[in-house]
């Protein structure tokens, strides 16, 4: 039993924290809502190698396990970085047999997005708003092509959501249903990791404020009504961290467990991040309700992420179906 990050992974996390803190911020997420540029942006993520963490070395990536990517994604989530590493992780799975395209993913020379739903009019898909090349599932085949992008008015601009209608397509992998499902599970794990980082940051910000702010002659963190809300959010974060690590580990080391672990992590992420962000607003009172405060930017991310790549209801249903058919063993 050794369920902890190793020294390498801790170093990776430290490096990613420094990078993201220097190159992205909730302020950029706020500006994004008014048309500002998203940070750190695709090129910076490619330059530091984050887009190619799980791309094979032969295709110009680092060929590292998903757990490494999840550790990095958590740090990006903490500062609401964009674009998401969900796309990089998911596309890396889909492009396993297309090294030339995988190389363009890793070096950032092509802006990929993975489409959910029908390729003739997709569901809102992550990072599709400024993508130029799309991966989709068309009649069971994995296809790649260009498309017409239809963005909606964003709740959270950092997710780059848009619907897409493919205008050209060629088959990359026929009969790719299993590959597609696995890529979506990997994407769910990475989104859960980003949500973990966001939720933990909400707890940190809420605790810091509750340690300072005074009301009725006491610091508000001394009131159980405030203290217990923050503790519940923190306990949730620690539970989520365990599921994210387990799911990321399973992707490489025990693939049979991935469907259960990925759905458990994504369902847990949906409620944990939302609760942490709502708690952050409530602890701050009126201050937390302002445009200037960062709280609503985490809340926006939480409100959107909980519905992407399968909502809580879909993943709870999947967990239940897998559990009753023996996925837990006996």
């Amino acid at each position: 039993m050794n369920f902890d990050l190793d020294a390498d992974q801790r170093d990776i996390a430290d490096g990613a924290r420094d990078f993201y803190r220097g190159n992205a911020s909730p302020a950029a997420a706020r500006a994004g809502l008014e048309g500002g540029r998203l940070e750190p942006g695709r090129k910076a993520l490619a330059d530091i190698g984050f887009l190619g963490i799980t791309v094979p070395e032969s295709a110009g990536g680092s060929g590292r396990p998903l757990l490494d990517l999840a550790v990095v994604a958590e740090q990006g989530g903490a500062v609401l970085a964009a674009p998401s590493l969900v796309t990089a992780a998911r596309a890396a799975v889909l492009l396993a047999d297309a090294p030339d395209l995988a190389a363009q993913l890793a070096d950032g020379s092509t802006a990929f997005a993975v489409l959910d739903g029908a390729v003739d009019g997709s569901a809102p898909s992550v990072d599709a708003a400024d993508a130029t090349l799309f991966l989709g599932l068309d009649g069971g085949d994995l296809v790649v092509g260009e498309g017409e992008v239809l963005p909606g008015r964003p709740v959270d601009a950092t997710r780059g959501l848009a619907s897409v209608r493919l205008t050209s397509r060629r088959v990359l992998t026929p009969d790719a249903g299993e590959l597609w499902a696995r890529a979506r599970q990997v994407g769910a794990v990475v989104m859960a990791a980003e949500d973990l980082g966001g939720a933990e940051r909400c707890v940190q910000l809420g605790v810091a404020y509750a340690q300072e702010r005074e009301a009725f002659g006491r610091r508000i963190g001394s009131y159980q009504a405030i203290k217990h809300m923050l503790v519940d959010a923190w306990v949730g974060v620690e539970q989520l961290r365990s599921l994210v690590w387990w799911a990321a580990w399973a992707a490489d080391c025990n693939p049979d467990e991935l469907p259960l672990a990925a759905s458990a992590a994504k369902a847990c992420a949906a409620v944990t991040f939302e609760r942490a962000a709502s708690t952050l607003i409530q602890v701050h009172g009126g201050v937390g309700f302002t445009w200037e405060h960062d709280a609503h930017l985490y809340w926006r991310r939480a409100k959107v992420d909980r519905l992407l790549l399968g909502d809580e209801a879909e993943h709870l249903d999947a967990v239940a179906r897998l559990a009753v058919t023996g996925a837990l063993g006996s």
Binding site: F3, W234, W245, A267, D317, A323, G326, G329
Partner: protein, 406 residues
């Protein structure tokens, strides 16, 4: 990162498994569907089971060798617990002695107390209980009123304890008393080892809401305790009690062990019962099943993280309280879904074929949210000691206990 036994751990597991097979004929075993054995009706068999396990080296795994333990690791202890569960051996009769009283004697007792008590405790020659809570002091334990008054070479105890698990079969207990009411409440306490068969000790069963009587009221009327059974210095009782309480929180859910049914058993129940609900109800029931499974897996894997820290030499900290909170929540979700899956039978105490597992679990879990630190006390501990939030103001912390409201 991995979830496998190391070669050393795998070897240890194989030895444990072989020992349990070798001694199977001398041990109690749970019948299918049975999750515990009542010490009130099977005391002798439960004591014998523990003695056999102790002689095989499977009790007190982490205790020092000089006190009859194995000097082993927390991971080895977890392996023994897993293998006992796998072999369907019921929980040990002296679990409170092993998990809480014994470690307190090891930490604060005299050499003579350790020699006198610990080996007998491990063999269940003596069963132990923990005499802390009182009718007027539950969460506010340091407000307790049972007194011990110095009298010659000993002490005389008067008062009442309550919610004392296993007192009815116990030979000894660790007893927290007030010895100096003129000191502030935490400073006037002293801990003792009390002989439960001494004159003046009266144990009365206390029936809990589920109908069973697992715990008791204990009355002390002029009970004499020799001074050599004092545990720690006079006035040091609170510090001694904290050792017990920390061990308690680790024992309940701290290392990710299931509270209530194991998730595998819950999943098996859902497999049998889901198809018997009407199709629209199945959709809703799967949501509840999924939510409970997610909570149970999260608690389990968080426990694995804590176990990893402990196995690398970390010491149990206040984070263990989070394990109890999350484990309790998962247990409640599984019990609730478990009952709802029974359909029309959910309103009865047992199904037509007599299965009452989920109703019984549902009716004892409220106690887990209270015992060993209520959910609310644990949130205070986590908020103050882990998150660093300011403490709740306590107006009675510095005043003499006797001057407070009594």
């Amino acid at each position: 990162m991995d979830f496998d036994d190391s070669p050393g751990e795998a070897g240890y597991r194989a030895r444990v498994r072989a020992l349990l097979e070798e001694h199977a004929g001398e041990l109690l075993h749970l019948a299918p569907g049975q999750e515990g054995i009542d010490a009130r009706t099977h005391e002798a068999e439960m004591r014998r089971t523990q003695r056999v396990l102790a002689e095989a080296g499977l009790v007190g795994v982490t205790w020092p060798r000089e006190y009859g333990g194995q000097g082993g690791t927390l991971v080895q202890q977890a392996i023994v617990a897993q293998e006992l569960a796998r072999a369907r051996v019921p929980g040990l009769i002296n679990h409170i002695g092993i998990g809480m009283c014994g470690p307190t004697v090891i930490a604060h007792g005299s050499q003579e107390q350790r020699d006198r008590h610990l080996a007998r405790l491990l063999r269940a020659d003596d069963v132990w209980c923990q005499l802390f809570s009182e009718p007027a002091s539950g969460s506010d334990l340091a407000a307790l009123r049972t007194t011990a008054v110095r009298d010659g070479d000993g002490w005389v105890v008067n008062g009442q304890k309550v919610w004392t698990t296993l007192a009815h079969v116990s030979d000894h207990g660790i007893l927290l008393t007030r010895t100096d009411p003129e000191k502030p409440k935490h400073a006037g306490l002293t801990m003792f080892v009390v002989d439960m068969h001494a004159p003046g000790v009266t144990v009365r069963p206390l029936r809990q809401m589920g109908g069973r009587a697992d715990f008791n009221e204990v009355f002390f009327d002029d009970v004499r305790i020799p001074d050599e059974e004092r545990l720690g210095e006079p006035g040091e009782g609170w510090r001694v009690a904290l050792t017990t309480l920390m061990n308690e929180r680790v024992a309940i859910g701290g290392a990710g062990g299931a509270i209530g049914a194991p998730v595998e058993e819950f999943a098996q129940h859902a497999r049998e019962r889901l198809p018997r609900l009407d199709p629209e109800r199945q959709v809703l029931a799967r949501q509840a099943v999924g939510r409970a499974v997610v909570a149970a897996l999260a608690a389990r894997y968080t426990g694995y993280r804590r176990l990893t820290v402990l196995s690398q030499g970390g010491i149990p900290g206040p984070e263990a309280s989070a394990g109890k909170l999350a484990g309790t929540e998962a247990g409640l979700l599984m019990a609730d879904a478990g009952v709802r899956l029974l359909g029309d039978d959910a309103v009865y105490a047992a199904t037509a074929d007599g299965d009452d597992r989920w109703q019984r679990t549902q009716s004892w879990l409220p106690g887990i949210s209270i015992a060993g630190g209520t959910d609310q006390v644990l949130r205070n501990i986590l908020g103050e000691r882990v998150l660093g939030l300011p403490p709740e103001p306590r107006s009675d912390k510095t005043a003499p206990f006797s001057g407070g409201k009594r």
